[in-house]
């Protein structure tokens, strides 16, 4: 939903203009509260001090701190200060502000995992530098007691560090082994632990070679990769969460004291709720009073508004278009149909975890080879040296360390970080770590119609076919209504330079249309039944009245900018394109013609959409689903990879791997291309690390590997791989 349709904003226009009434009396709780606002337009030092000064001057505000990186402000305020008042105050100062739902943000505020990784990374860096310093002395020729002392000190630094910093790897490796799988972390953990163990043993025997520095560099480089990976996903996830947090669930409750603006979580079945025109229905319920039309496109994909009057059931997520409705609540919050479907998605999500990342597939092929190689080296050298276990073990461990997938561990995160960063700047949020890999394999694209390929906003068609008198009458009537069809008609007619006819006695009948007197005769613009005719197959409004034949103004959905180009671009890349819609066959066929899609499916229920995708998947297709509505969520989850616009319902955004901000569709083919390039870079990186292993392994197997050689090889390959990834930026 666009911000203009945000219920929290639409629900309380009066609050915005009344900052002076900020402090509400009689709130039960004491102590300061934290309010968070999103400030999408701030960008400079002046904005920071402007916002902070403006807020601290407000009554009841204790302190305000802007975070420019996240474009948010955190406000400590006394109980009773409402976010609306503060938003109003900021908008008066010229800063766009939106309330954020604290609960939805909680997870991003404290990025515990990120800080934990950073801390482990810092420790590994500190230890690595110190041990490296000592190792350089050893490589430079320190002998006997000095060398032993340096080795002991290195060991004293390395052992606690490896235990602390390596924990993410051990935890993940253990998890994989418990599930009888192999992932990248198994060979990593094994190499780190064996290197430290063997070095300790060698040091105790006053040996020449200790691999403490190798174990630490390994830990450091791989942690750096892991942190990079985390950062890219965290920034995408926090942006996605902010989208969710922007939709503060609020409703207007009709209590004994009149209208109250409350959180949806405080509403119980049996309450009466007022839904104003333009607002989203917050609960499931039955209409008690009022007549209006509901836009169900997000729920069902129907582009035609549906009539709502007394005793009609309404559902959370639908948008009230024309008249105010009083709704008796039958279910709120977790109990609504909207929530039940969202929960289904959460269950289905777990199923997709079955996709194994490229890195893990590589590890599965790679780990057994390396481990067998090391074992073979040990056995062969035992045989050659006539039972010298120490020498054989040294060579076996050197093989393990040199082949340790340092470059492999960096190969994927370095590329995905670069690619996600590039797409992030274009307004695409990559929520899943493997989304790009999957996107690169896609061969079929399935689009939803309403709200995805179209903006969900109607546009009048064929105005040339009407006579001038009708047009000017229609304009005059349409000007009197805030219904989306009327407004769109007004805009189109005004753009054509039509002059409105003179009318008297104009009134809007919510849910039906507008009527007035023209030259003493009643004229109406509105629903077909009300004007006195039968509705056709397409979205239309009718003009009629006493003594005239009703004429229809047909509408089509406005195309999303860039949608036609995106469809064309996907086709040019050889992908199959399909359109599925919950809408009636006639508008679907008309639209498909317009945008040039030959395969369509109309009147599809959510289940049919998901089934169709499952069918395609069963025939070996890799399906990209692009959709926005509640009726798409099952399909989004079933698809190989899925994309939704920022205007989609929260449930749909949660279900998809990639969310695109902004209205324009054009970054989509871009994302597909970038994913393809990223996949190519990843494969290149795998090749680089394989080539390097092909060179290094014989050296290690022959027993020529030294800690210096291992350190050099490891750094070189890691840097090569990272530089290769940078080419994507």
């Amino acid at each position: 939903m666009s911000l203009a349709e945000n219920p929290s904003l639409a629900a309380c226009p009066g609050c915005l203009a009344a900052p002076a009434e900020a402090v509400r009396e009689g709130e039960a709780q004491k102590g300061p509260q934290t309010i968070r606002l999103s400030l999408p337009t701030i960008h400079c030092a002046g904005c920071i001090s402007g916002v902070e000064r403006g807020l601290t001057g407000a009554p009841g505000v204790l302190s305000a701190r802007v975070n420019l990186t996240l474009k948010r402000v955190a406000i400590e305020a006394e109980r009773g200060v409402t976010p609306e008042a503060l938003v109003g105050r900021l908008e008066a100062l010229g800063y766009e502000a939106h309330e954020l739902d604290d609960a939805a943000l909680a997870a991003t505020e404290a990025d515990r995992e990120g800080r934990d990784l950073l801390m482990r990374l810092a420790v590994a860096f500190f230890a690595n530098m110190n041990v490296m310093l000592l190792s350089v002395a050893v490589w430079a020729g320190a002998e006997d007691a000095t060398r032993d002392l340096f080795h002991w000190i290195s060991g004293a630094i390395a052992i606690p560090t490896v235990i602390f910093s390596g924990r993410p790897f051990y935890a993940s490796a253990l998890g994989a082994l418990k599930g009888r799988r192999l992932n990248m972390d198994v060979p990593i953990s094994l190499a780190i632990l064996l290197a430290v163990g063997l070095s300790l043993w060698e040091t105790a025997l006053s040996g020449r070679h200790a691999y403490f520095d190798a174990a630490l560099s390994l830990t450091f480089f791989l942690l750096a990769g892991r942190y990079l990976d985390h950062r890219t996903r965290a920034s995408a996830r926090s942006a996605a969460q902010e989208l969710a947090a922007l939709e503060v669930p609020r409703a207007v409750r009709l209590g004994e004291a009149g209208e109250e603006n409350v959180r949806v979580s405080e509403i119980a079945p049996g309450d009466h709720v007022l839904v104003r025109p333009g607002a989203r229905v917050p609960v499931d319920g039955i209409v008690l009073e009022g007549a209006s039309e509901l836009d169900r496109s997000l729920m069902t994909g129907e582009s035609l508004p549906v009539f709502a009057g007394p005793d009609v059931a309404v559902h959370a997520g639908e948008i009230n278009l024309t008249g105010p409705l009083t709704v008796q609540v039958t279910a709120a919050g977790q109990g609504t149909a909207l929530h039940r479907i969202a929960d289904l998605v959460a269950v289905a999500e777990a199923g997709r975890a079955n996709y194994s990342a490229l890195a893990d597939r590589a590890a599965r092929a790679y780990a057994p080879v390396v481990h067998l190689l090391a074992l073979a080296a040990f056995l062969v050298w035992m045989w050659i040296s006539g039972g010298d276990a120490r020498l054989s073990l040294n060579i076996a461990v050197a093989t393990l360390i040199i082949t340790c997938p340092c470059a492999l561990g960096l190969a994927v995160p370095a590329v995905t970080a670069a690619a996600s960063g590039r797409l992030f700047r274009k307004g695409l949020l990559i929520k899943s770590g493997t989304a790009l890999e999957r996107l690169a394999e896609v061969d079929t694209v399935v689009f939803d119609k309403t709200g995805t390929l179209t903006m969900g906003a109607p546009e009048p068609q064929d105005l040339d076919g009407h006579d001038a008198g009708d047009l000017s009458l229609a304009l005059a009537l349409a000007q009197g209504s805030s219904h989306p069809l009327a407004q769109s008609l007004t805009k189109a007619l005004e753009a054509r330079g039509v002059h409105p006819a003179r009318l008297a006695d104009l009134r809007e009948v919510p849910g039906f249309g507008v009527e007035a007197l023209a030259d003493g005769q009643r004229v109406r613009l509105g629903r077909a039944g009300w004007v006195g005719t039968e509705a056709g197959g397409v979205t239309a409004t009718w003009l009629g009245g006493e003594g005239r034949d009703p004429v229809s103004f047909a509408f089509t959905d406005a195309l999303r900018p860039g949608a036609a180009e995106a469809v064309e671009a996907f086709r040019a890349r050889g992908l199959d394109i399909l359109m599925m819609s919950g809408d009636a066959p006639a508008p679907v066929a008309a639209f498909a013609d317009r945008i040039g899609i030959s395969q369509t499916m109309a009147e599809a229920t959510p289940e049919e959409k998901a089934e169709r995708i499952a069918e395609l998947t069963a025939t070996g297709r890799k399906v990209l689903m692009v959709g926005d509505g509640l009726n798409d969520t099952a399909a989004l989850t079933a698809a190989y990879v899925s994309i939704s616009p920022a205007s989609a319902l929260d449930a749909a955004r949660v279900a998809s791997d990639i969310v695109f901000l902004g209205r324009d569709f054009s970054p989509l083919p871009d994302a597909f291309d970038t994913a393809g390039k990223a996949r190519k870079r990843i494969t290149e990186n795998f090749t680089i690390s394989t080539v390097y292993n092909v060179v290094a392994v014989p050296i290690a197997l022959l027993g020529f590997a030294t800690p210096l050689a291992a350190a050099l090889a490891m750094s070189l390959s890691s840097i090569t791989v990272s530089l290769n990834a940078m080419r994507l930026r």
């Binding site: 400079c44 030092a45 002046g46 920071i48 001090s49 902070e52 000064r53 802007v66 975070n67 420019l68 990186t69 996240l70 800080r115 950073l118 801390m119 810092a122 420790v123 500190f126 530098m129 110190n130 310093l133 000592l134 000095t146 002392l149 000190i153 630094i157």
Partner: protein
């Protein structure tokens, strides 16, 4: 070579000091808003004395 007995602890100690300083900075959330910190040096609010 006896000087090593002093130099090694000193080098380790200095490194550890840096590490502790980093921990402190991380814990006191100094890396939460790099954009804002970069811009805040330009505001005039703090020029003569800290904001009360």
């Amino acid at each position: 070579m006896e000087v090593l007995v002093i130099l090694i602890p000193v080098s380790l100690g200095l490194g550890a000091l840096g590490l502790v300083a980093f921990f402190w900075a991380l814990k006191s959330r100094q890396f939460d808003d790099p954009e804002g910190d970069r811009n805040r040096i330009l505001t005039e609010d703090y020029d003569d004395h800290p904001k009360s």
